[in-house]
Amino acid sequence: MSQSFILVSLICCLPFAGMLMNLWLRKYVAYTSTFFLFIINILVFYFINQHETQIETSLIWFKLQSFSIELNYYINRDSILLLPVVSIISFLVHVFSIGYMAYEKSLSRYFNGLLFFTASMLLFVCAGNLIVIFLAWECLGLASYLLIGFYREKTEAGFAALKAMLLNRFSDLLLLSAIILMFAYYQSFNLKEIIDSQQTLPQLVGWMLLLGVLAKSAQFPLMNWLPSAMTGPSPVSALIHAATMVIAGVYLMIRLSPILPLSVLHGLTTIGSLTALLGALAATQQFDVKKILAYSTISQLGLMMAAVGIASPQAAMLHMISHAFFKAGLFLGVGALIHHLEENRVNKEINVQDIRNLGAPYKSYPYTFYTILIFSLALCGIPFTSGFLSKEYLLTQAWNSKNSLSIFYFVFIILTSTITVIYTTRLIVYTFFNKSKENFNSASSEKKPVFLFPLIALSIASFWWIINFNPFHADFYFFSKTTFTTPVWLTIGSTLFFPVLFFLAFRYFNSRDISNSPNQLLLQGFALDNLQQKLFVQPTLFIGNLFLSIEKKWIDGFIHVMAFATVLFSHIISFLDYWLVDGLVRMTYKASYTLGGWVRVSRSGYVQHYLFWFLFTAVLFIIWVLF
């Protein structure tokens, strides 16, 4: 067994050790979990530094007639990039949770959920067998289900979890069948063998695969679970529903992109672009801070998915990484703000997530404000941020690509980015610069290091240097030096366009109060909830009731009629038996009885009668003899 194999296995298994420790050290779950994440980070960086990407070792998990499923890892550049992103953000979220969840009950459930999630995500990033990948994929869904429904007392949290799970389950089952069909096609579940075979997938399987990743990555039309998933705790939203789990679908597509057929790639671009635009549009009309961010995540995920579609998985990867940091930062920042405001609100009725109630003077929460500002600028794609570089890279790839849909995609990126700037400034302005509404006291607990450290760390990771030394050239350190050139007009254009737009939007929102009459269609997220309810949920329930009544009326009814008929028949038989069969017997008996009666008359006991019969018979005899 190679050292790397053991190392990766250790990384994936350590969270479980953490969960065991939590059983033992019940009081310190927050600290033990964070400690374990710290160790995982060390191991991850040690592993990355080794640069050993070929892990040939594999363990046989189980064997069946024609196949054996082995536990192996398929480490390539993408997994090397994503591994530290997952472990770092998970660690920061753990640190943040120490403060954020400090007063919550059932802490061990919370931290065990986070650890379980981290383990599944790390396994998902590294695993090299489709069945193991599917296992990890489902575990991600389970962790998400449990954590969305963390506040079990809230009915809507339960429903959000239910919705998330069901939509994901729908996709997952298609993914499972795609995996099985891939096995039928390639005769292997091994990812490396499949990709090395360089055979393109059959169309049908490709499309099943595409449908299989839609829900997890919150793509249209299966995206509506993500906004309602925001009922979970904010750090969970940061880790699972912004930075890591939702990119699983994109990541899987990146991994499989060499074998995807062209039509599926086109499908990815179309669905991704559409999702990007729709998500951004919906974000402009939301009032709930976290829902704005959720729709923003949907929109950015759409951009990544579409990038895979124009055969530029590198661009998708780059945007995924930069987005992971600043979006996790945004969620943590907003979470921190919610936490502080909840402590300082003047009465308990105020919903601190509604931007119509906000208007916290930014000077009271300087750290939170400035970090959120940095993340927002990155989201908008303002120069000197990581978001600028990754978006520029997306644009360049779309421009340079020879794909027939790339121009269409190029336009969608620009549209989406424009709307992104608009909703982000709206969020910033109404959260921090609104005329003070006297909803909150100014006392603050924001200087706690458990809040500050993750925010500052993530904001450091939101600048250009995590991508390239040159803040205007999107050539990622880790990409092989391919020859690509960004058109000069594109660099200059985006450098000027986004800041100007940001400035204008800021002026616009700052000068007017928030509109209280939003577009209902956008507010409801294109009424996907209603649509799914009407198209799928209600008919399903109707069919269920129909089947039950068929069962009662027809199947059981038939049985009962049969039973009744049998009983009736047996009554008829018994009637016939009494009158016909038994009747005959009784008739015989009665006849002989009557006959006997007649005969019995002769035995009367009088001598005269006997004498008479004697003489009578004798006379008869004589007559018979004589004649």
Partner: protein, 531 residues
């Protein structure tokens, strides 16, 4: 002298039943039944140890002549007392022993007529052991039929309000199935004979699989073209067996006895019914119907698969609409047993492995589900889902077990249910490929069933467990106590097994694999399915 281990497995519960009839003492009965269960576990341990030394596909076998009947000119009838343990019966026996022990533990709730209850339970135990091991058709039929008797009384006497209706329905349905099987049993023994002067007829399964032993003028000879309704007699024989065992499974449309029997039966009997008795249907198909009539089975694969898929989808939909927790679980059983038929129809090794795996896995999962339903019923005497909400607040540990059981049943990877369904689906998709034994749409429909299972389980969690605590029954909150240590004792081993089977399938596959290899070579050799 070597101990007849397999016979002991049957004999111990029989002696136990006898002993219970002889002794007196109210608490003694359950203890005796538990002792029998523990002895069986011990015995099974010994058997496992012995099989680990044995590399054959047949681990243990016991065979003696039972009785001989001269049939005049045509030959003699020779019957055997033949028990056998192979890769199919070993996991099923192991599962049954464990579930029976747990059901005995759960019988705490029985308070009246204990003597009768526990002796009947042990009788049932013995006949279950017998039917999973018998290798002679007559012996199998004897055990198979004998199961009906204790089950009828166990439901009819210790059941709920509509117990008479449920028990009679159960009895009549199963009897109908048994009669169909009996017809085939007789036809089979008349068709296969060995040697000449005298020809030896028997009920042995081995003989019925050897086509060269078919008597030339036999009813079931493939060259016998006299048929009914355009189908040959062999096809009819397969159909009879299929329906006979299908009723037990149960399959659509012969399933309606199951929800009634489950709802009325006391918890431990529900557990045994769902976990073990249903499996005898699948076992019968695997052991008798398919090996004896392989080509007919292959011809009818489409119909077998169709019935399976309808059961999956129909059962799931009925479960979704059920308002009674136990009824929901009963319908989910129908849905999950549909996978047995789908796997069989696939005629692929993966599918067959899935069938066996599903039977074992469903044994543990359904036992857990019915125990959990029983936990609530014992406390409140009400099973309506709508009457509860927010139970997580008062019974958190109970909720954790419910989560494990529900997620195992809805096919979460890492738990046993997924492995079984994955194998079946793999087989079914492969069969839907180039050879087109069953259409491609069957596994897709099965997926709809799995999706629906997620729907009804998660919705049940949402309705009963999430939110703030509330009950529409006029019951004190203090009634809702969390699991007692005894209830945990029953649930924990099942939960562990569900995890073990989900994470380390090799535990069972090491027994199943050689069996399937041998089974496939006999029933569906590569040439038969066009590979």
């Amino acid at each position: 002298m070597e101990l007849p281990l397999l016979t002991l497995l049957i004999l111990i519960p029989l002696l136990g039943a006898l002993l219970i009839l002889l002794v007196n003492g109210d608490t003694l009965f359950q203890r005796l039944a538990l002792a029998v269960g523990l002895l069986q576990v011990l015995l099974f341990g010994v058997i496992l140890f012995k099989t680990s030394l044995n590399s054959n596909t047949i681990y243990l076998s016991e065979k003696v002549n039972w009785f001989t009947l001269p049939l005049g000119k045509s030959g003699i009838l020779q019957t055997h007392y033949h028990l056998l343990l192979d890769g199919l019966s070993l996991p099923l026996i192991g599962m049954s022993i464990l579930v029976l022990l747990i059901a005995t533990l759960a019988s705490q709730e029985i308070t009246n007529k204990k003597k009768g209850y526990f002796s009947l339970l042990l009788l049932l135990n013995a006949s279950i052991m017998g039917s999973f091991m018998a290798q002679d058709f007559l012996l199998f039929y004897l055990f198979f039929e004998f199961m009906l008797l204790p089950m009828y009384f166990l439901i009819g006497i210790w059941g709920g309000k509509r117990r008479e209706y449920a028990s009679i329905k159960f009895f009549l349905y199963t009897l109908l199935g048994s009669l169909l099987i009996l017809v085939v049993l007789i036809a089979l023994y008349m068709s296969y004979g060995q040697g000449a002067n005298p020809t030896v007829y028997s009920f042995s399964f081995d003989m019925a699989q050897q086509s060269n032993l078919l008597q030339a003028d036999a009813l079931l000879h493939p060259n016998n073209f006299s048929g009914i309704g355009g189908l040959s007699l062999r096809t009819w024989a397969f159909i009879f067996l299929f329906i006979g065992f299908g009723i037990k499974l149960p399959m659509f449309p012969f399933h309606t006895w199951l929800p009634d029997a489950h709802v009325e039966a006391p918890t431990p009997i529900s557990v045994i019914l769902a976990a073990i008795l249903l499996k005898i249907g699948g076992y019968g198909l695997l052991r008798i119907a398919y090996p004896v009539f392989p080509s007919e089975a292959l011809q009818l694969s489409f119909w077998v698969g169709l019935v399976g898929v309808i059961s999956i989808v129909y059962g799931a939909w009925c479960a979704l609409a059920s308002k009674d927790l136990k009824k929901l679980i009963a319908y989910s059983s129908i849905s999950h047993m549909g996978f047995v038929l789908l796997g069989l129809a696939s005629a692929h090794a993966e599918g067959i492995a899935g069938v066996i795996y599903q039977m074992i896995s469903h044994g543990f999962i359904s036992a857990m589900l019915f125990l959990l339903a029983g936990v609530l019923y014992v406390r409140t005497h009400d099973r309506k889902i709508a009457h509860y909400s927010g139970l997580h607040q008062v019974m958190p540990v109970y909720f954790s077990f419910v989560l494990i059981a529900f997620f195992a049943s809805l096919g979460m990877p890492g738990l046993s249910g997924f492995m079984a369904e994955f194998f079946v689906l793999t087989g079914a998709f492969m069969a839907g490929g180039s050879q087109a034994i069953i259409p491609f749409v069957f596994p897709m429909l099965a997926l709809v069933g799995i999706l629906l299972s997620a729907g009804y389980y998660l919705w049940t969690i949402q309705r009963m467990f999430m939110g703030t605590f509330h009950t529409s029954l006029s019951i004190e909150k203090s009634v809702f106590t969390d699991l007692s240590s005894q209830e945990k004792m029953m649930l924990v081993p099942l939960a562990i097994l569900v995890f073990v089977l989900g994470l380390f399938p090799q535990v069972i596959l090491q027994y199943i694999n050689p069996f399937i290899e041998q089974w496939m070579s006999v029933v569906f050799p590569a040439s038969a399915i066009g590979l």
